[in-house]
């Protein structure tokens, strides 16, 4: 087989994997948008916050140490313990649930029935707030996140492809883990929404707020629930991205990677988020790989958006989005 085809295969494969990473972030957006019509810009910051909290717990950092030291003149840094990854993850998940409750109580509850753009802005305000809070709680320096996920090239896969094609294809172990985790996540979300009482309530709310209210579903509870789930999805995304690059401010910018995925897949569709992620990941990697060197490279940022834009011109509601029906 010619080299070009092999390279294309490798890039496609890696693009699909990168797409899964984007989908992880996009999932959180979809969950919240579906249940409450809120375009939650804070999703990226939620991932950052979750990752920071996780590292903080793991390393036994004292939250707000810097602030406390500044005010009381103490010199606190660490509690001096190291939590196992699993415990830290569970604790962080609990924090995310708590955060969901706080957000519902202090923000969402007061913004019922507002225009979507107002809600969108509120989440941007929330993003600012959480960014400041995360930094002040855990510090702004770069942190290594290690929950024991494997990294580096997968040798088994390389060996197999080498024997088949005479060229070992490269796949990152972390990406494989991310793919498995994403699959599990989607599976459990589907099971949850199809077969549990709360899942049904969730779908009812997504369909029609008022009808759901009238049959006795507590909207507030559903919101807390959905924000908690989104928080936990953010935690998963934070772990995956954080293992790769360390945990620091830029992690919150992964939200921008998820937006074209959303456009493409539709804001309201979980399968859309996955398929959209795969298409975007593959498309932008192939474009960068083959066209990038010709036109100067660093095309990924805009190409994802342009790709999504082209799709939208033909299907304005995204691939799997609900058809927009307008009446006068």
């Amino acid at each position: 087989m010619s080299d070009q085809i092999l390279f294309a295969m490798e890039v496609t494969l890696n693009g699909l994997m990168a797409g899964v990473m984007y989908s992880l972030v996009a999932l959180g957006f979809v969950l919240i948008f579906k249940a409450s019509g809120i375009f939650n810009y804070a999703q990226g910051v939620l991932a950052l916050f979750a990752a920071l909290t996780l590292v903080g717990f793991q390393n036994g950092q004292v939250p707000f140490a810097h602030l406390i030291n500044a005010i009381f003149g103490t010199n606190l840094h660490h509690f001096g313990w190291h939590l196992p990854a699993v415990v830290a993850i569970i604790l962080t998940a609990a924090v995310m649930v708590l955060l969901a409750m706080i957000v519902e109580k202090f923000v969402l509850q007061h913004l019922v029935n507002q225009a979507p753009i107002i809600l969108f802005m509120a989440t941007i305000g929330l993003a600012y707030f959480l960014e400041g809070l995360g930094d002040i709680m855990w510090g702004a320096d770069i942190k290594k996140l290690d929950v024991g996920l494997p990294q580096g090239a997968n040798e088994a896969f390389e060996a197999v492809t080498d024997s088949v094609f005479g060229f070992g294809l490269y796949i990152d172990n972390l990406d494989i883990v991310a793919t498995v985790v994403a699959a599990l996540l989607v599976l459990s979300l589907t099971l949850f929404s199809q077969y549990t009482k709360y899942g049904r309530a969730l779908r009812a709310v997504a369909d029609d707020h008022q009808a759901a209210l009238s049959v006795g579903i507590s909207l507030r509870f559903i919101w807390v629930l959905v924000w908690s789930i989104a928080g936990i999805v953010a935690l998963v995304a934070g772990i995956m991205w954080g293992s790769k690059s360390g945990v620091q401010f830029s992690l919150s910018l992964i939200a921008l990677k998820a937006l074209p995925v959303l456009m493409l897949g539709g804001f309201t569709s979980i399968p859309g988020a996955i398929v959209g992620g795969l298409i975007i990941g593959m498309g932008e990697k192939l474009f960068e790989f083959f066209a990038g060197p010709l036109i100067g490279g660093a095309t990924e940022n805009w190409f994802a958006y342009v790709l999504a834009l082209l799709f939208l011109v033909f299907r304005p509601q995204g691939l799997f989005g609900e058809k927009i029906i307008e009446r006068v």
Binding site: F39, H66, L67, A70, F106, V107, H110, L111, Q114, A115, P116, I117, I118, F120, M121, A122, I124, G125, L126, A127, Y128, F129, L130, E131, G132, L133, D135, I136, A140, L256, L259, P260, L262, M263, F267, I295, G296, A298, T299, N301, W302, Y305, V306, A308, L309, L312, V313, P316, Q317, G318, I324, E326, R327, V328
Partner: protein, 358 residues
């Protein structure tokens, strides 16, 4: 007592339809103009000009521009930063290619070029609506930034891709470059802002503005009553981009003096200006001013209070500042989702009856 309609008789339609029908409002407006044009340039120093007033004036232009598109015509755009970059680079190319032409003309031409680019990126708005459109405009944002970073022609082949504004004068006073006085900068921006705000106000009151609003409120209904969505939406994109382009040109040439596209005109800028118009009030010229003032002043104020007055460490202050700005945005939206403009309107309503509310 002073703020009332009573006794203010109008004898012509022109009087009746003026921007400030209440006499007190008119006088207040003239007084503000007098201070802004007369007194402020004499008092202003480098710090006030560069940290507060010049950015405020420039952001106000951009906010008016975005408000035309988003507030009046209902098309949410996140491409503002990219369009500002078009203005900035157009201005730079014109300034360096035609040094003998007045900078004022360059700035306006830069706006015109941006208008063209805006129309191009506005085309998808005919198919795509709402948040999908907002995200689609991000394509413009990222593509334009990439383009200006990548094509050396735009930055005259300089080693690092930075553009810096050479000195240009108007009537013998430098308005760009390092030797510009604070008051020259301020005055130049103020004149442009005043002209553009006046224009925007009158545009939005006339046929064009009404068409925009019809499209915003219900595009299908508007189409049925004979508003052409193609020309209306694209005219909104064009005029809005013109404003934003002028703001971008001023931002680069007068305020920063040197710029790097990804950093000065990145996605953050798009969000910042969207904040301004939502905090200020969608569909309102006053709101654009109020929002720009809020978003420019607040961080500077907070920083000065926390670091300058309370003596906090700068990083703590910066984090707390983020939290406060975030919290304030949320609080504002909860208290008054229609922005500062709505507060102002309510205040005026009350004032009209004061001190005899019955």
């Amino acid at each position: 007592m002073f703020y009332r309609e009573a006794g203010d008789f109008k004898t012509s339609y022109v009087d009746d339809s003026q921007t400030f029908p209440i006499r007190f409002d008119r006088w207040r407006y003239y007084a503000i103009l007098a201070v802004a044009f007369g007194a402020a340039p004499l008092l202003i120093n480098d710090y006030w000009a560069n940290a507060v007033f010049v950015p405020f004036l420039i952001y106000a232009i951009a906010a008016i521009g975005l408000n035309i598109l988003t507030g009046y015509c209902g098309q949410v755009s996140l491409g503002t930063g990219g369009f500002m970059a078009v203005g900035a680079y157009a201005c730079y190319k014109l300034m360096t290619a035609f040094p003998e032409v007045s900078i004022l003309i360059h700035v306006l031409l830069a706006g015109g070029i941006t208008a063209g680019v805006g129309v191009l990126f506005g085309l998808p708005s005919l198919r795509i609506k709402g948040f999908y459109l907002a995200v689609a405009t991000l394509a413009a944002q990222f593509f334009l930034v990439w383009l200006f970073n990548k094509v050396p022609w735009f930055y005259n082949y300089s080693a690092s891709g930075q553009i810096s504004a050479p000195e240009r004068t108007i009537l013998g006073h430098a308005v760009t470059g390092a030797n510009t006085t604070a008051s020259a900068k301020y005055f130049f921006c103020l004149v442009i802002l005043f002209a553009l705000a006046w224009l925007a106000r009158n545009l939005t009151r006339g046929t064009v503005g009404r068409k925009w609003m019809a499209i915003r409120d219900m595009d299908i209904a508007a189409e049925i009553i004979g508003v052409n969505p193609l020309t209306t939406k694209l005219s909104a994109f064009a005029i809005s981009s013109f404003y934003i382009g002028v703001a971008g040109a001023l931002f680069f040439a007068v305020y920063l003096g040197a710029a790097e596209v990804g950093e000065a005109f990145g996605i953050q800028k798009s969000f910042l200006i969207l904040f301004m118009i939502i905090i200020g009030g969608l569909g309102s010229i006053f709101g654009s001013f109020a929002g720009a003032a809020f978003m420019v002043l607040l961080p500077v104020l907070l920083k000065n209070v926390l670091v300058g007055q309370l003596g906090w460490a700068t990083d703590l202050a910066a984090h707390v500042e983020l939290m406060i700005v975030g919290a304030l945005i949320v609080i504002f939206l909860i208290a008054e989702p229609h922005g500062l403009n709505q507060l102002w309107r309510l205040a005026k309503e009350k004032l009209r009856l004061w001190p005899f509310p019955h």
